[in-house]
Symmetry: C2
Subunit: 187 residues, 2 copies
DNA sequence: CGTCGACATGTCGAAGTTGGAATATCGCTG
DNA sequence: CAGCGATATTCCAACTTCGACATGTCGACG
């Protein structure tokens, strides 16, 4: 649903071809919203149909350069200010966490360790982007806000995974895994 | 794709009907992976077809109770230990952040303020769940791990939104918004 | 006995997503 | 000029997702 607006947003910055947009998705926007070739080209065609973008130039190899129209800009503004962001939860990792009780403690622990490592790696990747994504233009400025989000959340995620791993170890140590066994009262 | 495994995971805990599962999605699992009626019933039918669940009882009003089979358990285990979680980034809020430069500073700021409020509200909601989701069974234990993730991430998100709001105010104050205007050298 | 609300499942179409294949041009290099 | 790699677009089949609608049962209440 939002792909339409991602494309509009990129074209609001400057005219581009489908191929150009795909490159932008690959290096920056894709960290936030990924898109495939077929999606981008199809969306450009739809947007052109509905008059929110127009072809401003045709180049070599059938290249078509698209620019946003006033109508497109209006739609983009409406989307930014009036449409509530979609917050449908869909987290593949957390879904697995819910079912970690089905695994042996050491398997569950390995899962959390891998998650901690993944989060750390992702954090490093984003750190490396910080240098690249510097620039005074509006796009870089706001891209950096998104980047900061990534840095903070990946850090939190790593801490959480380490904490969760410890929880699992502790439970395993105290002889749980057999829910029917009453926990001996402390003291 | 993961809906299949969400259903299998719930049935691994205990047999249930589609209607039962829907209720579980509504109160707990849905915070992590949401599903609609049509999806759940269709998935149960598919799983029954492929022999990963079976109908163990038929009750009033056409109620069918499903239980997981050995084959289903094996698939669930494989998914938990061997399948890399899907991490396709798709964040509607961050996508908008990328394009915040197209708004007036006060509009952009209002956007971030709303985000901070939403994150805080969501955090409170999860806090309230903490009391409800207490229990010694494996499901509650691991549900709490997921809950803790939510608490940490919503907290980080709120902090980030407040920080970002300040960034935008600062930029607006220093006369940016017209990228062609050279910034006056300090001193 | 009627009917209302909760229970319970199922079908449908529109829209969105994915990955892959097909097609073709341009510019460089040997 | 033949061949290659980067550029560039288009089409397609399969699948998922969503919301709406259709269908029907059961128990309780008056």
């Amino acid at each position: 649903m939002s792909l339409r607006h991602a494309v509009l947003g990129l074209l609001a910055d400057c005219p581009a071809s489908g191929y150009d947009l795909l490159k932008t998705f690959a290096i920056s926007l894709g960290n936030v919203w990924s898109a495939t070739q077929s999606q981008v080209y199809a969306e450009l065609a739809r947007l052109a149909d509905s008059g929110q973008v127009t072809v401003t130039a045709e180049g070599a190899r059938g290249r078509k350069e698209y620019a946003i129209t006033e109508s497109g800009r209006a739609e983009l503004h409406r989307w930014l200010t009036e449409v509530e962001p979609n917050r449908t939860p869909r987290n593949d990792t957390l879904l697995r966490v819910f079912f970690l009780g089905l695994l042996e403690p050491d398997e569950a622990q390995a899962f959390m360790r891998r998650e901690a490592e993944t989060a750390a790696a992702h954090h490093e990747e984003l750190s490396a982007l910080t240098a690249v994504a510097s620039g005074p233009d509006s796009f870089s400025v706001h891209g950096r806000l998104a980047l900061e989000w990534g840095l903070r959340v990946t850090a939190a995620q790593r801490e959480w995974a380490l904490w969760a791993q410890k929880q699992i170890i502790d439970r395993a140590a105290s002889g749980v895994g057999d829910p029917d066994t009453p926990v001996p009262a402390p003291g």
